[in-house]
């Protein structure tokens, strides 16, 4: 893995998406105007649990400091509808992670989606979609 590809400094874009009212499940804590992207990170923890599924990984910030990032997604029940399972992600897996970072600037965010090593995508049940049923 080329280090810079996994660095926070390599985040590539802002994706301005209006997500005004995600009161449920606390998504208002996140800056949903901008997707922060991490390429080729290594999963350090995968928690398949209520209330929300969690993925952690290490990545450098733009000062080059390694930080542990925590990304939350929806509930196991709703993520299953989007194709997730308890075995979708394992410690050591290489992923691309797209998340909305906390407005605090802390290394924590709400997932938009992940891309697995085989190229398949898993979307978050809340912020991975922009259209309601």
């Amino acid at each position: 893995m080329k280090i810079k590809s996994a660095m926070y400094s390599a985040l590539i874009l802002g994706l301005s998406v209006g997500v005004p009212a995600l009161a449920h499940h606390g998504s208002t804590a996140y800056d949903t105007t901008k997707v922060v992207t991490f390429k080729g990170i290594t999963v350090t923890k995968f928690v398949w649990a209520s209330p929300h599924v969690i993925i952690t990984f290490d990545a450098k910030d733009d000062q080059g400091t390694m930080k542990q990032w925590t990304a939350e997604a929806g509930t196991p029940q709703t993520l299953q509808l989007s194709g997730w399972s308890k075995s979708s992600v394992k410690v050591g897996d290489k992923l691309d992670v797209y998340l909305y970072q906390s407005k605090t600037g802390n290394p924590v965010g709400r997932l938009s989606k992940i891309v697995l090593a085989d190229g398949s995508e898993l979307k978050d049940s809340a912020l991975g979609y922009d259209k309601n049923p």
């Binding site: 804590a29 924590v108 309601n132």
Partner: protein, 279 residues
């Protein structure tokens, strides 16, 4: 609140502006396409859309597994007494806030009526000798409702009487052939009415009316009568459950150790308090 997320169009795309602003190598990669996909429907949403009746309702029978919305339709803010207002101020809702004191945040029992206002994806009814048992999918809770005509105990909390308990004491009867009426008293007052943080006193009485409109539809109205905290009885919530065709339920548990870990890993660092503001 699921309603607001999934049903009301709360997530709308105001604008999609891919803006590449990094100077790093990765910036040469194409911006991810804006998601245009629609979120998958839940079983409940599918059944709501299909809107089947399944034929007429059977007489005096609600047994079976039903699915509902995550959160029912909650009524307007009830008018509180000064004592009710004082307690309401002490309750800090939002389990995704670091400073909440919602008992739900640590998976404490939801009690009655909150079990019918929070995480209501699944409910079931079963007949037992002299009882109907209400089974709540969330937390795998059961509530035994006496159907033998007895009245609720009158000396709850008194010395020698039954003491307030998490899910209270329930009796039921049929109002006509299609409405099951469940009356509950003696609920521990550390439980809340709903996620908004409305409190109740130990004297609260709850009435749940389950009306089987047809084979596939079960409507519920929850009414709270608590003169200590509220100026008059009020409709707390209304909801509609749908018959599950396969009669399969789902496991859905709030696990204390997981909830505590989630709070440490996500809720606190994400700064939910600053974002959510006051209730």
């Amino acid at each position: 609140m699921r309603r607001s997320v999934l049903n009301s169009g709360a997530i709308t795309v105001a604008a999609v502006f891919p803006v590449i602003f990094s100077l790093h190598a990765a910036a040469q990669e194409p911006a991810p396409k804006a998601a245009k996909e629609t979120r998958p429907l839940t079983l409940y949403q599918k059944l709501e859309r299909a809107n089947a009746t399944g034929g007429p309702a059977p007489r005096r029978d609600v047994t079976g597994f039903w699915t509902g919305p995550l959160t029912p339709k909650l009524g307007p803010a009830p008018e509180m007494t000064p004592a009710g207002q004082a307690q309401f101020k002490r309750n800090k809702p939002d389990i995704f806030s670091a400073s909440t004191n919602d008992p739900w945040a640590t998976c404490d029992p939801l009690g009655v009526p909150r079990t019918m206002t929070t995480e209501t994806r699944g409910v079931a009814f079963a007949n037992m000798p002299n009882h109907i048992v209400i089974l709540t999918q969330y937390q795998k809770i059961w509530r035994a409702v006496w159907m033998d005509g007895r009245e609720l105990p009158k000396n709850i909390g008194a010395k020698g009487g039954p003491q307030p308990i998490w899910y209270g004491y329930s009796v039921g009867h049929w109002d006509g052939d299609y409405t099951l009426v469940v009356n509950t008293a003696g609920v521990d007052d550390s439980t809340w009415l709903d996620r908004r943080g409305y409190p109740h006193s130990p004297d609260m009485r709850v009435e749940e009316r389950f009306t089987r409109v047809n084979h596939d539809v079960l409507e519920v109205t929850v009414t709270v009568d608590d003169p200590k905290y509220y100026t008059k009885p009020f409709a707390l919530a209304t909801s509609r459950f749908r018959w599950i065709p396969e009669q399969e339920d789902e496991e859905q548990l709030c696990v204390p150790s997981e909830a505590i870990e989630y709070r440490k890993m996500v809720v606190v660092p994400a700064g939910q308090d600053q974002a959510q503001g006051k209730k």
